[in-house]
């Protein structure tokens, strides 16, 4: 299993710089020079590592999902009541950065860019998260800890959509955390019913 540290530290610096620039200026207004300066290298050197801006963005998205999926899976492995584990796992997954992104001045644009320029990465990432959750649900069901109202894969997808919905309407990080906890309590009860 790869983690976020098995990557070239220079590439990591580039990605971090890129993320800062994107968050500050948005995708369109961020130039390759902005990213290079932030990473402490020259612009041409950037091209030795990434093909272009879109390539950087895709990589950024891939890494976000890698780290998110790992945190999510780790948190799901911890002991506790179904609902609590589920909620905390989702929070661990990176709700914070996601909410920050949505509430940032350029969150809107970045989301657009993500969906058009990195749709493969997003799709793969979301599918990966759903897969992790589905397997966890299956495992819990096998141990009799939950009763699924449908195929694990669908339940997983719907649960994730649900949390995403909370994110959209969240007004602050704290509000989001509260909502996730309430929702997962409800989901936990629903899954353990009967």
């Amino acid at each position: 299993m790869k983690d976020q540290f098995d990557i070239d530290p220079k590439q990591m610096a580039i990605l971090m710089s890129a993320w800062e620039a994107f968050a500050a200026y948005g995708f369109r207004k961020t130039s390759m020079d902005d990213i290079a300066r932030g990473a402490g290298i020259s612009r041409p050197a950037l091209y030795l590592h990434y093909k272009n801006k879109e390539d950087i963005f895709r990589s950024l998205t891939r890494h976000y999902y890698e780290q998110a999926t790992q945190s999510f899976a780790e948190a799901l492995d911890r002991p506790g009541a179904i609902g609590e584990v589920l909620g905390e796992a989702y929070l661990a997954k990176g709700g914070e950065s996601a909410v920050a992104m949505l509430t940032s001045p350029h969150g809107h644009e970045l989301l657009d860019v993500k969906l058009t320029n990195a749709s493969e990465e997003v799709e793969a990432g979301e599918a990966g998260l759903a897969e992790v959750l589905a397997e966890w649900l299956d495992a819990q069901a096998a141990r009799g800890r939950v009763t699924l109202p449908g195929p694990a894969r669908e339940v997983a997808r719907v649960c994730l959509s649900t949390f995403k919905g909370l994110m959209k309407t969240a007004e602050s990080h704290e509000g989001f955390v509260r909502d996730v906890r309430l929702m997962s309590a409800l989901l936990g009860d629903g899954l353990t019913a009967r």
Copy 2:
């Protein structure tokens, strides 16, 4: 209680024409003339009924929520298992037109316009829906049919966010309906647990 039929039929024609134009061209690209022609009146006559385009849009939004809230409340009043009633009520509420809006070519813009030019109407509408659901939850709780994991108002808000989340990720109306049913089954179990 007002319903959608106690409005001047001419104003209704205007609103319907406006809705068609907005859906076809988006808010920005729809002219007052487009709306007037669709409603079978002259453009100046439009100004006898509405102050300007924004006014029409706000009215449209208000009426959408009025009718949605009424359908929602009516559907909640029908008998059935908690989860089923909840899901069907949400679907009755107007998931169809909402999904249509989100998947329309100008859904994005219209949503923006809605949030900036009709934020009061949206806020009031959403609050109204949440209130209806909260009261229903309280009534069900009083009759011992559900056990709330938190204040009814918060549970209601979170449930509605949840369904909204499903809408965002839905790829088609059918998929949305399936997801809502699955989700409400889960929520129903969660609410009736213990």
